[in-house]
């Protein structure tokens, strides 16, 4: 009798406490505060910040990936810091300074490996996702960048100085590296399409781009848009464009041009050019909203206060917004209903309704750059 009462009492006490503590991560996100070395944890449904994690080093150009359970964020800092953040407890649960200068990372498709691309010393280091113990160092004779995950515990990256792309297959006990020479002059970034099939590298030092079919028995470099850029005046590039896994819009791939104020359209299967859209300035990100109906574009310094929205069927600009000075990044909610936009120099993230293109909310963030929602955990190439 007393035992039963005690038991009842226990469950009564335990239930509300549990309800309070339980929290799902599916609508959470992490925003990089680049100048203060911190990240803000945000709740998409509440359109609000729910916490801040500090002490993360130089976060200019920082990016992050999520663990498959969407609980941990692996943050890649410019200063070579790799931090593992528990977004529920809002604590740093692991941190290593793994190089002097790094540029981004990736998580393997099985969620077990974290890879980081380094400038100094050049190459890619691979870590155990649980412990951050270093498992391998794939050396390169230059700045490694454009690091992407591919199906089957593979990573693909390119080297700015040596014009190579390396495919690292870590499905066995030791990584096996295949080097493709001649990806083109000065690859500056790359993407893998969301089906995991096509790796595309942007080239700074020559016309066109390069693509690799990762499904091929023997992957080869194929030049695409080879005449792109010829006979046109090169314009100075004050910020390198980014290529991202958000490039696929239906059966097309959308790419920001470099040296030109254009967005390029490529057929996802044939990789032939299907069009160009003249835009406001040097594009930095061209991101297809989930579903691929529209593409949002932001721009390099000094014309970086503006965003344009392009219809993927007509390739026409259908909207233009001016969120404020230094728009650095955009992120869509998982089904594309909202776009969150970081406005660095006004210390805010502005939230847009993607149908009306009207702002519907705002969050105060210190010098925001990258915005990352946890739904990324379940996509290849992000």
């Amino acid at each position: 009798m007393t035992r039963l009462a005690a038991l009842l009492m226990c469950s009564v006490l335990a239930a509300p406490a549990l309800a309070q503590e339980l929290r799902a991560t599916g609508d959470l996100g992490v925003i990089v505060e680049r100048a203060t070395g911190s990240v803000l944890i945000v709740d998409q449904s509440e359109r609000a910040a729910i916490g801040r994690v500090e002490g993360l080093g130089d976060l200019s150009h920082a990016s992050l990936v999520f663990s498959p359970d969407e609980r941990f964020a692996y943050l890649f800092g410019r200063d070579g810091g790799l931090s593992k953040i528990d977004i529920l407890t809002q604590q740093v649960v692991g941190r290593v300074i793994q190089s002097g200068n790094s540029i981004g990372g990736a998580i393997s498709d099985d969620g077990k490996l974290i890879a980081v691309a380094n400038y100094e010393p050049g190459g890619v280091k691979i870590f155990d996702a649980d412990t951050l113990e270093e498992l391998a160092h794939i050396e390169a004779d230059g700045k490694a960048l454009g690091l992407e995950d591919a199906a089957g515990r593979k990573f693909v990256f390119s080297v700015w100085d040596t014009n190579e792309t390396k495919i690292v297959d870590f499905s066995g006990a030791e990584p096996v590296v295949t080097t493709l020479s001649d990806i083109g002059a000065n690859p500056y970034d790359a993407l893998v399409t969301d089906d995991g099939r096509t790796y595309i590298a942007g080239l700074f030092g020559e016309d066109g781009l390069s693509a690799i079919d990762l499904w091929a028995e023997v992957p080869e470099v194929k030049r695409i848009l080879p005449h792109y850029g010829r006979g046109q005046e090169e314009m100075p590039v004050y910020k390198m464009p980014h290529l991202e896994g958000w490039a696929k819009a239906g059966d097309q791939i959308v790419l920001p041009a470099v040296h030109h104020h254009e967005v390029l359209w490529v057929d996802a299967r044939t990789l032939e050019e299907t069009g160009r859209t003249a835009v406001h300035s040097q594009p930095v990100f061209a991101m297809a909203r989930p579903g691929g109906r529209h593409v949002w574009v932001n721009f390099a310094h000094p014309e970086n206060d503006t965003i344009q929205v392009i219809d993927t069927m007509t390739h026409e600009v259908i909207g233009e917004m001016v969120p404020g000075p230094a728009v650095l990044h955009m992120e869509f909610t998982s089904r594309g209903t909202e776009a969150w936009v970081s406005v660095r120099d006004e210390n805010k993230v502005v939230i847009y309704d993607t149908t009306t293109l009207e702002p519907i909310g705002e969050i105060e963030v210190q010098s925001p750059s990258g915005i990352f929602f946890t739904a990324r955990a379940h996509r290849l190439g992000l």
């Binding site: 680049r34 150009h61 410019r78 200063d79 100075p236 590039v237 004050y238 310094h301």
Partner: protein, 107 residues
């Protein structure tokens, strides 16, 4: 005519003294510092330890020629990713940035 001459002389004097020609107001200095940290920082790193661009730390700038730096800033380094900033800034502004980069170095 004399006015024209005086004007020409004035312009010549201004051109000869690029560093001092135009004084940089405190507000302008704030803007330039911001530009250096944030927008140069996108290639050179917020702490200027380098990225796609080379390090611009005091150690890296040690013994560097002021005019040489200004030339790089204004005209860029063709064949590399360093863009020319002339379309976006005046010579005086470039001198201010060069001096800022040289500030903590031993010349």
């Amino acid at each position: 005519m004399p006015e024209r001459l005086a004007m020409t002389a004035l312009i010549a004097a201004l051109l000869a003294l690029p560093g001092a020609a135009e004084t940089i107001s405190p507000e302008k200095a704030d803007e330039l510092r911001h530009l250096l940290y944030q927008d140069c920082g996108s290639c050179h790193g917020l702490t200027r330890k380098g990225g796609l661009g080379s390090p611009l730390t005091p150690e890296a700038m040690e013994g560097r020629d002021r005019d040489g730096l200004v030339e790089i800033i204004l005209d860029g380094l063709p064949g590399t990713a360093m863009p020319p900033w002339r379309p976006l800034m005046s010579e005086a502004e470039a001198y201010w940035i060069a001096d800022y980069l040289l500030k903590d170095t031993v010349q």
